[in-house]
Amino acid sequence: MKDPVELSKKYEGKIEIYPKIPITSYDDFSLIYTPGVAEVSKAIYKDPEKSFELTSRWNTIAVVTDGTRVLGLGRIGPTAAMPVMEGKSLLFKYLGGVDAIPLPINVKSADEFISVVKALETSFGGINLEDIESPKCFYILEKLQSMLEIPVWHDDQQGTAGAILAGLINAMILTNKDPKESKVVLYGAGASNIATARILAEYGFKLENMIMIDSKGPLYSTREDIDHLMLHHRWKYELAVKTNGYEVKEIKDAFSGADVVISASTPGPNVIKKEWVSVMNKNAIVFALANPIPEILPQDAKEAGAKIVATGRSDFPNQVNNSLIFPAVFRGVLDSRAKSVTDKMVISASEALAEFARRKGINENYIIPRMDEWEAYYEVASAIASKAVELGLARNNKSREEFREIAKQRILRARKIMGLVVTIWSA
């Protein structure tokens, strides 16, 4: 069946909930529910942290959206966003063994969004924010991260940035470039590129060596709309002030001598021109991540002189995809019962992914693992979990090896159960 609407109609949605505790006799009811269940509630009342041991909270997250920027569809609202959130929840289970509840919410303002999610905190071990328009998504993420005692993650920001960094680490090794010395063009100033600038700076790239380009051209500290940005888009404003030490004002000048371009802009082809790539530094690295068509086709980028090209597509080499990051990140934060997820933890995820690819042997056409290299997920999960321990953010302190084994067992268990689903449905 190739039709997604027919598929959704046939299965009537993508996920459902099944109990974990077997019921074999009438007496079981008094244990799983009243009166026995009161003992469990009392234990949690005395020590709320016990909710991570005695309920499913330890493995459950919410996938929350307000439907304001869904995939490439834009503002389609929470009801129409549900299929996407269900799909995401399925990926969480299949790739990370995480129980994810799709939760599109009908809210009007950022503050209303925040108060709804805050009220949900007690039921979940983590929050995955999804498909929220910019710049509201930055405000919501910052506020919730400061208010909640569980990890809050915005996949369009941190997941994409983490995958980009993973690929970039290996691309830099292959081309013998040094992060501290490299000039980076960020083409597009949406959620993922803004988060990427922040994560790259934390990793060791210099903000003054980056140039961010939006629909009006390069950002710089004296651009005509700078004060407008200060009032309406604080995050873009901060980057306008701190990046572009070259003070270049034209796109071609931004590309001139650049080592890396990371594009998260509009679907191409030819959004990024060959002539721009041709003025980049020797051994240029081009990440053209728009879907379905990259901003510049890999062949064109290579003809213009690029050494390594990555896209968001699985049918080209080097697919940079946040699906490599988010399931394992949540596996890791849930296994360590982390109180938050920080940029340092994202970087450890990127490093683990990059190292996994290096062990297999990196080359121009393989800088990042593919989505079906399952062992990569255990590596990323254990890297995240042990980083949480190192940063003092974990409630569960274990070694990296222990976390790797736990992640592996839980992901394999999920895949085994999904295997049963296949058997049942095909019977």
Partner: protein, 155 residues
């Protein structure tokens, strides 16, 4: 190292750019503060006059010869109050890359010293009520509200 000094004729171009940016920023706060099309031209004329008027002071912040901030105060008579003269900050703008580094504070200190030399005891600031960035800055500098201005468009 940023230093503050009185403006000179050759600073005019930068001052006009900065003041114009400030007036455009003001227009973001309130539709009653819309700018005319020839804003720069008007600001330029007014800055030229200011530089010759002893009752107006323009100061600039400079970093290695580059203007990175500027402000203008205009001295007014207060016929019914004492002290009888008050300087009002009408424009204040710091280059975005130099914000949150104490440049604004240094500009205010320089203005205060300059007014003291001239025997002026009162300094106030004029800015859109809805500009919370400005109101928090002036509060931090020790200013407080004294008058309110209510505006109504008649037609």
């Amino acid at each position: 190292m940023v230093s503050i000094r009185l403006a000179k004729k050759e600073d005019t171009k930068n001052i006009v750019d900065f003041f114009s940016r400030m007036y455009r920023l003001n227009s973001e706060f309130d539709p009653l503060l819309n700018n005319p099309e020839n804003l720069e031209e008007r600001v330029s004329k007014s800055v030229d006059k200011s530089l010759e008027n002893p009752d107006e002071i323009i100061v600039v912040a400079e970093d290695n010869g580059k203007i990175v901030g500027t402000a203008r105060v205009i001295v007014h008579e207060r016929s019914f109050y004492f002290p009888d003269r008050e300087a009002i900050i009408e424009e204040f703008y710091v280059h975005p890359a130099y914000r949150r580094q104490g440049v604004g504070k240094d500009i205010i200190s320089f203005i205060e010293e300059e007014l003291e030399k001239r025997g002026i005891q009162l300094l106030s600031a004029n800015f859109p009520s809805r500009n919370v960035i400005a109101s928090s800055f002036y509060k931090k500098m020790g200013f407080r509200e004294i008058h309110s201005k209510y505006v109504k468009r008649i037609y």
